[in-house]
């Protein structure tokens, strides 16, 4: 069922498949005008979804927290993303599912009464840092400017597009000749950056922040893999000072996997090469994309969806 019009990506908008270049959100959807939505991103690697069930569990929890009722069942959404990937023919893909609050009709202001919307698309796999860049390592800063939005204002475990603080962090990174930034909370503890979680490795132990961050699936995978090879991982507050003196630093994201940091705040980490533990976890991470219990094979010849109105 692969079709070349979808080779740059296939989207599902308002009940129709279309090339992603034609996919658009109604300007009146409060998913746009109030960023009132949740979403998830799943990767496809070598023709298989990775940890799809875990992503869908997080996605479902998110829309329930926002008190939304998507117009389709979870199972139908799953069929749609299988078909987006199959139509695109992409073997490595970045697959996004979005539920928005929807469009106010006839001046209605009561957001409980809006018809929520579902959108999805599959595009070629997205890398926060490309593989060749990863092998050199990422130049990271701890943002001095914007603080991460506190959990008392927005729950970061409900995956969202409200990136005002993270975008400020990115500009600060550029101004300081770095590639990206990690943000602190009001107590000076490390949280997360634009699109990634962070781990420090120090004296035989991984540390990653417990809250104020997305509960990333790649983060969870690194915790699982570290356990398999007997590296203890502490989920506990991580200060900026601890981060700066770590033996290794790594970033995790569905868009790029396990990514080594080699420079922090202008200082080289260790000998300047990606850390050994980081590179071992990175190798294990990509190998794990063939594990049966974590993967869902895409059938590129047979649609998952028979018919949805």
């Amino acid at each position: 069922m692969t079709n070349s019009i979808y080779s740059k990506g296939c989207a599902w908008i308002n009940g129709e498949f279309m090339p992603v270049s034609e996919a658009a959100i109604p300007i009146a959807d409060t998913g746009f005008t109030h960023s009132d939505l949740t979403y998830d991103v799943v990767s496809v690697w070598n023709g298989k979804f990775f940890r799809l069930e875990d992503h869908l569990n997080r996605f479902e929890r998110g829309w329930k927290r926002l008190r939304m009722n998507p117009p389709l069942t979870r199972s139908a959404m799953q069929d749609i993303v299988f078909d987006c990937v199959a139509k695109s023919g992409l073997r490595e893909s970045y697959v996004e599912l979005i539920v928005t609050r929807g469009i106010p009709l006839d001046g209605e202001r009561d957001i409980r009464k809006f018809a929520n919307c579902f959108y999805a698309f599959a595009i070629p796999y997205v890398w926060i840092a490309k593989p060749e860049h990863q092998l050199n390592g990422i130049n990271l800063v701890v943002a001095n400017g914007a603080q991460r939005i506190p959990t008392t204002s927005i729950d970061p475990t409900v995956k969202n597009f409200q990136w005002g603080d993270l975008v400020q962090g990115l500009f600060e990174a550029y101004d300081r000749d770095a590639f990206t930034a990690v943000l602190l909370d009001a107590d000076g503890n490390v949280t997360e950056g634009p699109g990634f979680n962070i781990f420090a490795y120090h004296e035989g132990r991984l540390i990653t922040p417990p809250d104020g961050v997305l509960q990333g699936i790649t983060r969870a995978t690194v915790i699982d893999l570290a356990d398999e090879i007997g590296i203890p991982c502490s989920i506990e507050p991580l200060s900026a000072a601890q981060l700066r003196t770590a033996d290794e630093i790594l970033l995790t994201s569905t868009a790029g996997g396990v990514m080594p940091v080699t420079v922090i705040d202008g200082q080289t980490i260790g000998d300047g090469d990606p850390g050994k533990v980081t590179m071992l976890l990175r190798e294990m991470y990509w190998e794990a994309h063939e594990r049966v219990q974590w993967t869902s094979q895409i059938n590129y010849e047979q649609p998952a969806l028979e018919s949805i109105a």
Copy 2:
């Protein structure tokens, strides 16, 4: 030039006018996927823009703070919104202008290199609370749940769509049988609510919070009008306790004007009728929509725009 296909609203998207029902944002625009944008809303009343120059000044300051370069000059944007209104034929309209970061091309991650986008639309005037509702007064709660996003994370003076905290406030209002909510900051001071600024009137004096809030044009107008009639207005921190014991409370928004509050946290304010000072300011506010220095006449017969590529 009024055309009935635009009677529900006219939008400008990617260089073309279209009915607002057809207006859509590319799903890949980071104005959607990272809410990376600023916008402004101007009202048209009786065929005239109200304080358009002030709105455009704020809008321009916003996109500069976000380090964006819109694809059109400010003057061209102004011509476009004049024409959106003229084409719609709407004498009372809610007119929105948006500049977004735009679309990443070919896997580009450097947001400095994105081509920023401009969108605009004019729709029938939007009321946060309809006039008949305003005459009864609004039932408001001070949110106990979500705190307003602090200015250390997102600058509220750059008008934005990142409403996660405000939407939580709305749901709390519904759960407490109220109409809307005002949010506190981490120090327990009053900030703003979903789409409005707030004033307390107490013992002959208006008070409105200084920062952590949008510098609203309706807020500025109320400050100006109060000055004209000799009511002092203090721009200073306002505690929740002060708000609850105020003689009168009023909300201000381009979407509804000056709106009386008659119930706060379930308690009736005064005798339960809209306050006298509030209603005087409300009357002056609507009369001010005929003042020459604050209005810009729309020519419904002659396009403002000759040609834009």
